[in-house]
Symmetry: D2
Subunit: 478 residues, 4 copies
């Protein structure tokens, strides 16, 4: 029986909720979690950290303890570190997953090897050759997490933050069908922000509209989401899109090279609006994500400037590898008292979701969840992203409706390839995986090159592919 | 563009919202509306009443004005009466439908004629021979309402309270696909109350649990709804059902005649639990409704006592006809100051829904709405009942999931027959209507008797069937 | 690899094809098989008989050998008898299933116990309480056959002739998904004969039209099949049905008692035409079968005359038990030379089907096969009956299209209940089985009676229900 | 009522069947028709020719009359020419469509304009920018044909031979849902021939195997068809494919330039086998067709040699324009007696199909027909290609089953785009058409280029796009 009743929430430090954190040595997300828990008055308990890098987890635990001792920390949380995932998850009410393989050995290859074949990816974490490889690496990891949840905390709510979001979340359900897991991502926040600006600009009297106030109907799969309704206080914002489009002029609106110096995460809604202009449906994720799900933004790209016309940049692999000589230094400065941890508005919904699951306050938000009809066009059981209502110990996806033609086929292709990758991951079958690779929107390569690139990637990352039958794979045979 | 923004809500009496009320001469529902509006501080506006009985509407308007003048009436509403539906609906933000044909000429036949053939109905408003006839009468009426909405207030939210709920609401959408209509019914409240009792009895510390606190997952069609999840503050209540069933002993638990003197609307969850025992899924409407959707509670019934074993009573047609010599008398006493109108807790959600639609406070409740995937097992476009989230100018049904076998086929049969009746109503085709009549769960009559009963009903109610091709119907030919 | 190439067919007695016959001690079907094989010049081989009654199988083998020695027997077949099913099936190219439990211990109960509760069945082999029980008994038997095929002759074509046709054939596929099995039944032949008469009567110059010449589009599940097209040499026969109906006058056309003295298998197309009159679609099986799939022909029946109005008779259980003192006597007379075996036109398609599978001549006929889209309205994988094209080692069902409303729901209910029974049979779960029993069209009994009847049937036939968990079944607990 | 009974077939010249021929001025197909009719002894009647080029039709009529007068012409047919389509189709039993726009003004643009943007097409008649334009031109033409059939010969069987096959056939049904139309194409014959070779090579004793003897299970849409079963006399040929693949060595097997001098219609099963190697399913059309339905054979192609590695050639537009100074010369030489018309084995199935429809001999072949479940994965009503059984006045598609992932999504994309083009054609909506163009597998162009190419094509062919709203199309606005 689930434990997530209001009674369990605020008994005092070390009591109350138990949060198991897989990937608890992360630098960014752990800090956000500490920040948010410290500012939430009606939850308390224990965070049990697990990471392959135990030392990093211990540093985070120390930071957590440090922050909770501050007078203005209204939350009341203890922190533990475990060397085994099972110990960190034992008896957990909530499990957080935020893990990452070492970028040097994986992500760099995911980006750089395809580039040698002329395949340029803006993100490489969901689709594209990089997305495929990351999926293959993730399935065995997430099977292990799901199996540990089944064993140690079968009724826990699992909140996944790791990419490839869909494949990771789908793997959890495939391994342990009784799991309660959801996948959470920020990308649609961008679209809400866009509409907040639209409201301010176009509705008389609207000012300081926040993205949380914007109600959008979300549908799709993670990073390839779409929005077909947008409202603010009963005002229909969607009908202003044509005016917005006209105001932007011919797309893309950027000169070659105009983006020089901007962040790799820049977003200017160029792709989102181009999709709207073409299909009448607004793409609802960052452009660098959207661009990877169809061939026409990245096919034939030869240099960065080709992409920058769309207001997005090709993330170089170097951007994925920290060049920080001592990443722990700033935490140590805080622990030593040299620096103060400043509370901030994280924009994360983790605490809101836990409060909803505990029964304190319902929350409507978009999340990734197995399809039980919320998108009737797509396969049941596939993990899709739509709005959902989170209430006491329950998540109810909202019926989001279908897609217009051809958008349906674009999304359906993604779903099918992701399902194929999960199946390949469970079977350890790289020939099956290659079918998804072949059908990937960014892999328009000649068959010989497609096979060669796939082999190169497998060769470079074989240490992470121990769960696959490398010898029996026909696609790997020369 | 819709008007239902918070800006439109509370400007002052006669301004603000405009509610068009079809059936505004009703005795019960109008009084509830007046009561609830008077106690709601953040809505104001005008209620425009229309009824074929203009006098009754005028009495209600007078009552409304009278009540609003009281000091403790925090609502601020004006009341108008119109002789044409179009005038009452012109410019409406919200339309309420609560209409009824004269029972003497319709409902009495719906109940009494089938009885002559051995078909005993407990309600006769949704399925059964009575449900079929009422559907046939309703389609033309609701076409007219939908056409008037399209003409006079195309963006209004239409809230239907009239039975047959599914057929009426479905007709609104078939006639005017752009309509925003929902159908509202109380029956599932009973199931929530049942679980509120379960919570109080079985969860330590639970007391004064109200039905509003019970979160149930509702699925089905109106009056043939089912619940497969129930929670109270994160506690799973559904798993107590086996204990509840055991505590009730063998079903039905009533002796013949034991119900003597109880209300016709008595409900003891006997049918609901018998369905649970058989199919593992709890029937979630009053037993007198549930019993009509399958043949095995009412087939072979010969006298009232046969049914009363199930804790339900056969409603005699006389119970549907008011024996009140002067139904307006009590209103007149109030208007004359002889009696005081006492405010009460109506339990109705009308005001909550309008407040949600206006954007004041979101509401999660169950309602009837076209299927866009919330029940993926059932035909898209058919009107189904599930939970939904009501927010500013928007209704989002919640994905309720499918049914276990054979329950799916039971519900699907109902949906198919209702769709057939709507189609027959639009086409004026009684041969088509007879197909639904023939497949009705309560019509297990021999073919000759089935035809004879259908003919008798049509003959008795032909004044209300002017939209049908009576001469061309083969089924009516001897 | 399959062996059914023309090369394997006609090498000589004892060579060529190998037919394994489960139920090879049957009296009627074995004789037909011998008759048909003896008259077919282009097939030869061995028939290996297996039966729990080895003696009966040996008598059939002797008859077979006797017949093949006749000069006018152009077929060339050897006959063997095996005491183990595995031995009879080892290396078979074709497997025939025609088995039956002893009627005294099963069928008599299937018919007589329901009668005590007022449930009268005309056949009791597919639906109704009898159909349910027979299904429950069949699943374990057919699992064993499928397992033996998988072991002994995995590439054989399995031709099932046993009822309940759908459940038996479906069980073969559920147990051994790689099986090649089809189910064969005569009932649609009746509908073809009806149209042959129509052609002779209504088309100028048509004479001696045989049922084989009539092309009908068949759709449904065995014994609840429908026809929506009928042609003879390009003439549309279906459009004469209204005239046929008119010519028959009001249905049913029989007086009470008028059927006295007719065979229990009498058929007068009364039910078929009543379904046509009601739904516009012709029922296409014998009326005694059709009548059991909806409640309205048999509900409320109290005596035989109630049913005989429809031109059908209630088969008494005694008609199912042979009263033949020495059933083998006639075979022995033939073997002793006292009587001559006369060749006859059997009307069976077995030899035609084998000839088609061997590649001699393609055959279009109706048969039972897993749904892969031939009836898109119905669940994929369920066994349905449609036309199919039988060619060399291949069966291709023909796309038969969907059903009009409400007929679809009637058929779908049958499919769902049959799927439930197969699932219950594999799980040994009588509570699950009771769900199908409860939803059966003939079980309109009060819940208490329905449970009591189910218990009585299980008690009477428990020797045949060894594969079920009788102790754990809640429905059996008083 | 249909006329296609055997009685109508062979009464004598000018009597019997009436064939209306739209495009009757064609050079190749008309000659084949004459050849085949002349050699078929059991059909006779009249061929009524219509063509925008009346003179060409008259020449064909003269040729037909000439041939029929030969002694060895066992067929017995008269030929007429009409200036109005309606006259040619009046009273037709069979309608043949084989039409083509002047290549100079259409096809040359379809091929050459995309080439300027780097889009190289091998055929350009079904997908690709050329396929899209041809579809847009075809919809209005085929609406007219369907309307004429509805008016002049509503019960005729319409046999379409024109590309884009799917769009043309689908348009016929969209315009006149009651039509009986099928689409016929040769491409799968190639796959049957491949398997005939396989049989000869790998099965002992197999010699002179003809393609007609090869039974393949066909599924897909025209030119993007697949085969997942192949048999010859009960031998499974599909299981030899791995050996075939191994024998071919690494694909593509051709050196750059090795194809020099080969026909533009060369086919070496390179693409078919590459699809098999990747997806486990054999592509079943000529490689030059298959290559256009996915991006990876033609994306990035810069010169002919890039494609010739696959054993196919880029058809230059010049190959589509006859360079014959006097195309009628050879016919005139025959009419003048200078040359003799030699009968030949055409390989066409037209006569076989008509014989089957007339009821003489059933035929199983693959053809294009609205999906009623034969491919349950694909939208119902879309025109798909599968096997079908052609019998007296009837066509029954065979259940072909679904596709493995990702192949399903590849085919589904094609279907969706074709449905979109038909919808755009009926609505005259080029913005809608552009959605299909954008999602076309060969249009991986940058959005600006995609729009520019679309505009260029529309501008070049606007004379043929009179049915479209060119002024209102946003995509055409600069």
């Amino acid at each position: 029986m689930h434990q997530l009743t209001p009674e369990t929430r605020d008994i005092g430090r070390g009591d109350g909720l138990r949060i198991g954190y897989v990937g608890g040595g992360s630098r960014g997300w752990a800090r956000t979690l500490i920040n948010d828990l410290a500012q939430c008055a009606d939850l308390s308990g224990t965070v049990a950290l697990y990471d392959v890098d135990t030392e990093a987890a211990e540093l985070n635990a120390a930071l957590g303890e440090h922050v909770m001792e501050r007078d203005d920390a209204v939350g009341n949380w203890a922190f533990e570190v475990h060397e085994e995932m099972a110990d960190a998850l034992a008896g957990a009410d909530v499990v957080v997953c935020s893990t990452q393989d070492p970028p040097e050995e994986t992500f760099v290859n995911d980006i750089d090897l395809p580039k040698e074949y002329g395949v340029h990816q803006t993100v490489a974490d969901t689709v594209g050759p990089g997305g495929v490889m990351r999926s293959l690496r993730s399935v065995p990891q997430y099977r292990e997490i799901a199996a540990t949840v089944r064993e140690e905390c079968p009724d826990a709510w699992v909140l996944n933050y790791t990419n490839p979001m869909t494949v990771c979340t789908r793997t959890l359900y495939e391994e342990y069908p009784g799991i309660d897991a959801i996948g959470l991502c920020h990308e649609v926040f961008k679209t809400q922000s866009l509409f907040a600006d639209v409201a301010e600009e176009r509705i008389e009297g609207a000012a300081d509209v926040s993205r949380e106030e914007i109600d959008v109907n979300v549908k799709g799969v993670n990073h390839f989401t779409w929005v077909d309704e947008a409202r603010w206080r009963g005002h229909d914002l969607y009908e202003y899109l044509d005016d917005e489009l006209a105001a932007r002029g011919p797309l893309p609106a950027f000169e070659r090279g105009a983006l020089e110096g901007e962040s790799y995460w820049a977003n200017h809604y160029q792709v989102a609006f181009d999709l709207y202009e073409t299909f009448g449906l607004l793409g609802a994720a960052g452009d660098r994500h959207l661009a990877e799900f169809v061939p026409w933004y990245l096919d034939g790209v030869e240099e960065a400037a080709d992409v920058e016309r769309w207001g997005i940049r090709l993330t170089p692999s170097s951007a994925r590898v920290s060049d920080d000589a001592d990443p722990a230094a700033d935490v140590e400065r805080i622990l030593d008292g040299e620096e103060t941890f400043e509370f901030y508005e994280s924009g994360e919904e983790f605490v809101d979701i836990v409060r909803a699951l505990v029964g304190i306050e319902p929350l409507k938000t978009h999340l990734n969840y197995p399809n039980e009809g919320q998108i009737p066009d797509l396969e049941r059981g596939a993990v899709v992203e739509t709005n959902a209502l989170v209430t006491g110990d329950d998540v109810s996806p909202v019926a989001a409706g279908g897609f217009p033609d051809p958008v349906r086929t674009l999304v359906e292709r993604t779903v099918t390839n992701q399902e194929t990758l999960v199946e390949a991951g469970f079977a350890g079958d790289l020939d099956l995986a290659f079918r998804a690779f072949r059908d990937d929107p960014l892999v328009t390569l000649d068959p010989a090159d497609a096979r060669a690139l796939f082999r190169d990637l497998v060769a470079a990352e074989r240490d992470y592919l121990g769960a696959y039958d490398l010898d029996g794979a026909a696609v790997l045979a020369e």
